[in-house]
Symmetry: D2
Subunit: 283 residues, 4 copies
Amino acid sequence: MSENAPLVCLLHGPDQPGLVAKVSGWIFERGGNIVHADQHRDLEEGIFFQRVEWIPAGDAAVEEAAFREFAGALGMNPSVASPARRTRVALFVSKADHCFHDIALRWKAGEYACDIVAVVSNHQVLEEASRHYGLPFHHVPINATTKPVAEAAQLALLRDLDVELVVLARYMQVLSDDFLSKFARPVINIHHSFLPAFAGGRPYHQAHTRGVKLIGATAHYATAVLDDGPIIQQDVARVTHQHEVNDLIRKGRDLEKIVLAQAVRWHLEHRVLVYGNKTVVFD
Amino acid sequence: MSENAPLVCLLHGPDQPGLVAKVSGWIFERGGNIVHADQHRDLEEGIFFQRVEWIPAGDAAVEEAAFREFAGALGMNPSVASPARRTRVALFVSKADHCFHDIALRWKAGEYACDIVAVVSNHQVLEEASRHYGLPFHHVPINATTKPVAEAAQLALLRDLDVELVVLARYMQVLSDDFLSKFARPVINIHHSFLPAFAGGRPYHQAHTRGVKLIGATAHYATAVLDDGPIIQQDVARVTHQHEVNDLIRKGRDLEKIVLAQAVRWHLEHRVLVYGNKTVVFD
Amino acid sequence: MSENAPLVCLLHGPDQPGLVAKVSGWIFERGGNIVHADQHRDLEEGIFFQRVEWIPAGDAAVEEAAFREFAGALGMNPSVASPARRTRVALFVSKADHCFHDIALRWKAGEYACDIVAVVSNHQVLEEASRHYGLPFHHVPINATTKPVAEAAQLALLRDLDVELVVLARYMQVLSDDFLSKFARPVINIHHSFLPAFAGGRPYHQAHTRGVKLIGATAHYATAVLDDGPIIQQDVARVTHQHEVNDLIRKGRDLEKIVLAQAVRWHLEHRVLVYGNKTVVFD
Amino acid sequence: MSENAPLVCLLHGPDQPGLVAKVSGWIFERGGNIVHADQHRDLEEGIFFQRVEWIPAGDAAVEEAAFREFAGALGMNPSVASPARRTRVALFVSKADHCFHDIALRWKAGEYACDIVAVVSNHQVLEEASRHYGLPFHHVPINATTKPVAEAAQLALLRDLDVELVVLARYMQVLSDDFLSKFARPVINIHHSFLPAFAGGRPYHQAHTRGVKLIGATAHYATAVLDDGPIIQQDVARVTHQHEVNDLIRKGRDLEKIVLAQAVRWHLEHRVLVYGNKTVVFD
């Protein structure tokens, strides 16, 4: 096999005959070798989705630019990534630390091909832990009055650091529509329920009141509508009448960690395509 | 051990010190031997719940009556059952047959300590299959106009047959409040979603539109509020973007069978206590 | 889209650059349209695997023959199937009926694109049930002495009926190496444990003795070595100290049904490739 | 309710009529109030098991001593614990840090009612991380020659610190029979397979070679026979042909963390009774 690093492309656009042949043919003619390729057709919507990972024969930057042009000419919307460019991530946290430690430890263990360029928090609780991991910590206090100013400060920071992905690791503030539209890049949130059940506040209390037999967690892209964005991953755990709200919260922490970690991994490996309010996950 | 058949009692009432000792002491003093005992306290509500299964030393009917009196004197609400009395069950079905066959086969295999005394349907599709299993089939057509008359006929049938449990095995009609209050005995329904998500009609279509990554099924006692009764059992199965609505429906059938079968089993084994809008399941 | 029925091909052979492009290019040039395509590379072994499903533009038989020739020229081992040819299946059963009913009901419900051309049993217990489903039943008694004769009779039957797949639905006899090599077509077995744990007889008893906290079931292709063939699907269920062997057996029945049903479905949909002692399942 | 802290007792011994009544009666007569009680009978072996948690009316030490005497007189083997006495735990680690961090973080978050009084390792990799958590680190190098000396040093340390539980958090040395019999207190190990499948070394490699569709992890008490002790908890995760050994190792880390964490929690909450080579877990 080639010694080159692979390129990964996520494509989507109007379905048409021969797309698989055209894309794989283009790569083959330029001497590339496909390592993985997966595609999906939404027959109702007439959309074609593809993830293709290949070892280019020539210079990665040249091949990447050429592929973008080729895909655009096919009417496809391409997003090409190279492992040489590690995604720049900001973690937003509040006081709860389980998802924070989980992601930081996975990052330290080399599980994630990303640079965590900032930890942003409305509290100072995780400042020392951040520094211990070698992660720059930014305290941006926020309340109802200061929210516009605080969000402006957050946006300036994200821009300065060229952050490409924000991960809300149990960040207990709702991001405004204005923030999301100005940031205009992906934001992954972990909601501590099996959405669409128990959207909004205190979902474990809601679940306990309803008497469900399973609790859940949902990782999704944040959108203007609270807890309603495209779902990336969900999982559940069994509970019984013996579990009080505090038990649900404790059991839920393990769920939240696993679900958020998986969603972040898939995003960083360029496996997730969003369309409408859904995702295609090429696992 | 004694050769006698066991008695099972489900108890609940205001919590008070010494209840476990009093109940087990009473049984021991009368020569009974406890096979299983499990209890639960809802500390918020101050309610005590217990399931106790014992081999009585004396005549079962005498012991049962004595226990009822004893438990009542403790301020407890007792429900005593004996395997000698098999629960009389009516299955309500429409056209979908997967839950129907699943329950009928479990019953034939001896998994359920019940007599299925009637299959009631608004269609004739399952008439021959019912007869093949040796189950009496009753066709009660129903539409918006005839609903009161049809429900009256169903109620008369249930009363004539002394039915103690109705199982809605994908019965596609909503039972009226009037029916439920007149029947006044438990009705178990299987809803094809992870309640409270996707209550109401066409839940798999709703799930597909929302783009969830897990589909669910929920067995619950039917109440006046649609899809809102006390939940007995829930389970989920993983789905992806590749699954169209028909795939969800197909995968859902397996979920529905397993979840309904488990709920019916627990009910028939006298393991389920309802309080408020929740259940305690002594598994 | 074309009105034609799709063709499905499973390919495998030595890895080489451009295989995806060559296969998809060939299909595109002949006017076919790829509906699904999935591939896998075993990098250690240097083997390429692909499943491709496409709507041919021309006559299916012509396209199929042409594809076989094309794939052979690439050094690939192709297996092309068309839904127009339903797989001919024989079910082998003994006395336990849960997997038998499960498969028969799925077949009746149209879940399986196959014809069940024979039910073969060493007992007569399921004769009447087979007839009720409209399935031809063959009683072939077998014991240590008559085994060679009985297997010869089974083989003659399978040949007469041109059976393409044997499903051992809790058939309690071990097929001899001689039988397997003479039949020379796939045989799917369901073993009632999480293989390789508890191979051989009475696996639930073994599991109970060992005190495991999960029981399993494994669907695999039968090979000359008992319970050692390529695994297609596995699943588990939770058990506790409260479960006696009979409870494991009862809970296991549900597992066995689900696991065998899934393996048979994947096989019939031409999603399973065997290599060495493993499977690639293009799900 | 009383302001006193609860006592927890695990009892086992020869089954006899009236045990539930006698134990609960004794507690009630001394003014105690049972919070939870659960029991199990092994009918084959004729053994009775009980876990009872109660709020004593009087002085905890007095009640505890009295209960021990009472239970002994019944022929029962009692083990009484009080939350006032936090279990003293030693963590044994090597280089892999995922279970180490997981347990340390749960301990810091207050999930575990224990004191981690030592981290013992045959490597120095986790020394700094231990100190950061405030945990005393002991480096005890070990090789084939020095094993007896090293184990003697470990035993001396455990005795000095009055360690009540050793947790092998991916400690890559086999403890000798001599060590186990001299320590004579519980040792919990996490094995990275679904035991009894793939005991011994490199279980993920074994699993990959066998082509299983699920990988597992097993937490068990260590005994003289490697990977054969009483199982406390097990869980599995789904894998496919796409997963190489490194993927199994990565996915396995999450399993190992969850399974070990749950086993340690149950042990610390006095929910696990060992008998023969099995456990009763009162969850």
